[in-house]
Symmetry: C2
């Protein structure tokens, strides 16, 4: 017998996207040491944690310092105080879920990867292109087959189901990273109907739902009739409340989601009980504070700040007559590179001509070629200056 | 095509151990509402976080409240400041590892489960019996074959390798949960030699290494010659520094561990980059403080407190002439039930006769029948009172 490591890891393309972005930026900086480069490519937040979150974390740290209030092992699935807060949040936009359908985790990315543990081996996953690379890589690592649904200008970057194609897992991210496109309730209903008819399960990434302001767009897949028998939803405090370095998310698995006698909610509970030990108490108290009246007010102010940045970018592109999606209900702006430039060609143009760094769309899949992603997570000042330079350049 | 969930979950026995302990305790309490029950069965710590850890976490929370010191996404593999501290800690007992061989995580349990991602499908795991149930369950969930190495009184609960048996993964936990037995450097060398000869990989759980005081016992498998080509080590702040509810651990994967061109360190880095997003910054700062001079002094005081509890239990069992292992280099005491009582029979005897709750050994595997686990993580007062009652009873 020879011990073998998982050779499916060989199927993953090394992601050169951000490494290449960093390398080209570094080369430019070396040649132009005095240059003032503005980064509008980052997916990370820049505003600090809200005061309500800070106060809750401080208080929780103090609890951990005293014998009488110290907390050891917590529930694998998250403390009731946080699950109840999340349940109430869903209720605020009309979605009824039970607290024991909510699983608190250290982030949506972990759960989106680990969820494959509860699916049988083999099988096919349908993933939109362009895409957040994690969906593809986790599937390839697990030895699953990946097929793509094209998200293009023709379908407003919102592909509809094709009944000639079948898959057992479908990934939908709305509002989308990288395109910023968001499904309407009606558009999402088509996917739910398709999944219920074909027996597929939808893994719905709602990490950017808090950026939605338009009424007709879906905040949660559980606003859709029938979703409770075909969907799992992943959400995160990362972008909503600036938790990218604090780490907390949650996954909603309806108790009605079953196939051949196996219940997804019970499988995931068992998975988490066996391979996870809950999220830090201090972090869960911080997350709970996000849902207080004070916390909601503060994080809404932060979201408004980022959304005004998105507006600055969108207005600039409008003036230039450049086509884009996103920006209104999303922190991402996905633009068509002008003059039919390639993604990397446009990257070099912006870097050399305006000292602005963005993300070439080609890094998100074949349909990303010719597109470019800008993000609203920078400071106002940088965003305004970047757009002034881009307008001057183009 | 029909979507299927992972039917390997059906292979796992529902763990009734702690549920049954709770149910019997509850029944007794209902019948004896005035009874003063002492729990010596818990594996959770009871002392609060050390002041140095609290100060570091408070300071980190403050950093997160200001724009200039706020931290977003951190490195998947952990901040350098913590990896360097861990590297220095290993150096303090003579083990040389590089910082990039250390991966910070939310706990040893997560990594022990998730590490199977980097191994090929199928395969056989060799696990000692009795055992921490997580090793067995994670393997069954992944569809792997599990075989057992008997840990019995005959081998002092420290099985040696049997060259007639082959497996591609070997689990060793030392000091052991539940038996408290710990391998000598010589005993562990036999396993390392066996693994290198057969090509197996040892997953070494060192979660209780900080309880070791005897010089001849192994603190780390990397004290053993040849371990860097056959072993991965898992460690945790849970018991060392009371992080059971704070969540932090680390895994050491030598860069020399390769099979058929696949490098374990690179595979795990890729796994973590794809399915994990690092540990909370605030928690990592708390963990860093464990390794300062002040932090080490404080956690050593806490460890000494638990070890004195273990001594109280061990002394009581000595007076009673009851055989046991552990207690000296481990927080666990594993005792032979007197008068050839069964594990559950002895559980009922202690509960009814002394109002003391422990853990029946049968819950840890077939070799646990006839044994019983007591833990040193309670308060001094409770531990002393419990042993007084047990001595009176038996």
């Amino acid at each position: 017998m020879t011990m073998k490591f998982n050779s499916h890891f060989n199927d993953i393309n090394e992601s050169y996207l951000f490494a290449e972005v960093a390398a080209r930026t570094q080369t430019f900086r070396a040649a132009n040491p005095e240059s003032d480069i503005i980064k509008l490519g980052i997916g990370d937040v820049t505003l600090p944690l809200a005061p309500a979150v800070i106060a809750a974390m401080r208080s929780a740290v103090s609890e951990m310092s005293e014998k009488d209030t110290f907390r050891g092992y917590g529930p694998y699935e998250g403390y009731d105080f946080l699950r109840e807060s999340i349940r109430g949040y869903y209720g605020s936009f009309g979605v009824k879920i039970a607290a024991d359908e909510i699983f608190v985790s250290d982030g949506a990315k972990s759960d989106l990867g680990n969820i494959l543990d509860i699916f049988s081996e083999g099988g096919t996953s349908l993933i939109t292109d362009p895409v957040y690379p994690v969906y593809v890589d986790t599937n390839l690592m697990a030895g699953r087959k990946v097929i793509f649904a094209d998200a293009t200008e023709q379908n407003d970057f919102l592909p509809a189901p094709d009944y000639k194609v079948t898959a057992d897992i479908i990934y939908i991210c709305s509002p989308n990273n990288p395109t910023g496109a968001a499904y309407t309730l009606k558009g999402l209903q088509e996917w739910v109907d398709y999944a219920n008819k074909t027996g597929a399960v939808i893994l719905y990434d709602a990490a950017y739902e808090s950026f939605i302001s338009d009424g007709g767009l879906a905040r949660s897949i559980f606003q859709i009739e029938g979703a409770e028998t075909c969907a799992i939803e992943f959400c995160s405090f990362s972008k909503t409340a600036g938790f990218t370095g604090t780490r907390c998310g949650y996954t909603v698995i309806p108790k009605a989601l079953e196939r051949e006698g196996l219940n997804a909610n019970k499988l995931w509970l068992r998975r988490q009980a066996t391979k996870f030990n809950g999220v830090s108490y201090v972090v869960q108290r911080g997350a709970e504070a996000v849902f207080t009246a004070e916390g909601q007010k503060q994080i809404r102010e932060n979201l408004a700040y980022y959304k005004r940045n998105a507006r600055v970018i969108a207005d600039g592109l409008d003036e230039l007559g450049i086509k884009y999606t996103g920006g209104k209900n999303s922190p991402y702006i996905w633009l068509r590179c002008p003059d039919n430039a390639g993604s990397w060609q446009f990257f070099d143009l912006l870097l050399n001509g305006a000292q602005v760094v963005g993300t070439p769309g080609a890094g998100f899949g074949k349909n990303g070629e010719g597109y470019f992603r800008l993000t609203a997570f920078g400071s106002r000042e940088d965003t305004v200056r970047a757009m002034q330079r881009i307008k001057k350049l183009l």
